[in-house]
Amino acid sequence: MNDNILVKLKNAGFRIKNKWLVQSVSFQVEKGKIVTLIGPNGSGKSTTAKIALGIFKKIEGEVEKYTNKVGYVPQKISIDWTLPLRVSDFMVLTENIKNEDIDEALSLTGVIHLKNKNLGSLSGGEFQRVLLARAISKKPELLVLDEPVQGVDFTGEIALYELIKKISDELNCGILLISHDLHTVMSATDHVVCLNGHVCCSGSPIDVARNNEYKALFGEQASKTLAIYEHKHDHTHSNDGEIKKN
């Protein structure tokens, strides 16, 4: 048994009634490693993250989580504005955090000046930075980031990805990252899982980049460029998510 494993999925899947959102997913996240999920829209990336986090409980297969120190940046978050909530209140939402740590995290993501602002008054990009700050300020063992830089400006995006890499090294935490940005994925990730309702291929970035199925999905130059990729399948999906080979 490997002590470094934080969360492990074994043939995990989730379906609503008869429609599979994702099935037969296996991978593990270890301390200090970044695992990235890539794949087209609706390929089950967020669902897989929620399976790993234990938000979805009635799943097929197995999921084993070995830590409770989790930081989560969801893809979509709907907050009810009947609550009077400042950024500083939001930072201590799930755990009491020392004031210095709050300030440090907010400074790292570049939003310390918003600390006493009402959460409802932030822009999309600012809110995204606060979400990331909240997740890292807990100094978690497992960080799950579902498109953490959506809506962030271009320079900010690069800086935040560098920050994520740095956090992974400094805290020695495991990161499960969902991203559309193939360039970042290929340069900073230890393990890539390419999803399309199931695992199309997975491995180290180089292995995946050499994989024929990956090439078919993302194109030859995908590891160097932000590929606008065309999707070619060797199989199709029926309505219930079942796979049919062509």
Partner: protein
């Protein structure tokens, strides 16, 4: 000093206000006002049970309200009816059954007005003890589940993902709602308990920028409402419940001026 009925009512009312303040904030945040109404309506059935079996009223109301809450959760799981229809179904049917049972209990003289709208003359030393000890227990439990309850109120998935067990907190909060209704029924009356929960909290929302401030202002608003309401009730011989709620409404209206000011400042 508790010999005077008015002092007893005041002490009891203040106890109720201190507990309804924080609970009311969650009722507003989690949109549970109709749920509170349903539990309060079912309280009538609890009162009739207490008279039928010579039982403590607060305890009986607490048990019946908890059972109604459990039935609601089961119905939500097992039927496709929308939540508000189920709440209406339970609220009115439990009220109706309560009234029918009263019809059978011809050997007891009921003060229906007192039940519906509160009766300060009826507050006994025993009630004060129940309100202050029960209330302290409610607040203590609320403090213990504050983190998961509040986090899941903001965002359920974040709370669940980061290991806070929001479902348990929600279940415990439901029981606390039944408990606050049980201890405050004599003071405010079962038709107006939800008002005592919502109106001070709504007033506090208008003048607060953080959750803790909202809780504190909600308590202060409730306490002021009880004081103003009870003095009015004594002076003009009105029912205690409506007088307290009317005072809370007055405070709410005053708080609207604060919003107007802050909107003007922004522009």
């Amino acid at each position: 000093m508790f010999d005077d009925f008015f002092i007893r009512a005041l002490v009891a009312g203040l106890g109720v206000a201190i507990v309804t303040g924080p609970l009311g904030c969650f009722v507003v945040w989690r949109r549970l006002s109709y749920f509170g109404d349903t539990l309060a309506h079912s309280a009538l059935l609890g009162v009739t049970m207490a008279y039928s079996f010579q039982f403590n009223i607060a305890l009986s109301v607490f048990i019946i309200s908890s059972i109604i809450a459990l039935i609601l959760i089961q119905l939500q799981k097992k039927t496709n009816l929308p939540g508000d229809a189920l709440l209406g179904l339970l609220a009115h049917s439990s009220l109706a059954v309560g009234l029918v049972v009263i019809g059978f209990l011809t050997f007891i003289r009921f003060d229906i007005m007192g039940l519906l709208f509160g009766d300060i003359l009826a507050v006994t030393l025993n009630d004060i003890i129940i309100i202050w000890f029960g209330g302290a227990l409610i607040l203590l439990i609320l403090k213990l589940i504050w983190k998961p309850l509040f986090a899941s109120t903001v965002n359920y998935e974040l709370a669940e993902a980061e290991g806070l067990n929001p479902d348990r907190a929600k279940a415990i909060f439901t029981i606390l709602m039944a408990a606050i209704i049980a201890i405050s029924i004599k003071m405010v009356g079962l038709l107006l308990i939800t008002g005592m929960l919502i109106i001070p909290a709504a007033m506090a929302r208008n003048i607060s920028d953080s959750p803790i401030k909202m809780v504190i202002f909600s308590i202060i608003g409730g306490v002021l409402s009880v004081i103003i309401g009870l003095f009015t009730s004594l002076e003009f011989n009105t029912s205690s419940g409506p007088s307290i709620i009317a005072a809370a409404l007055l405070l709410f209206i005053l708080s609207l001026f604060k919003i107007k000011q802050s909107v003007q400042l922004k522009n």
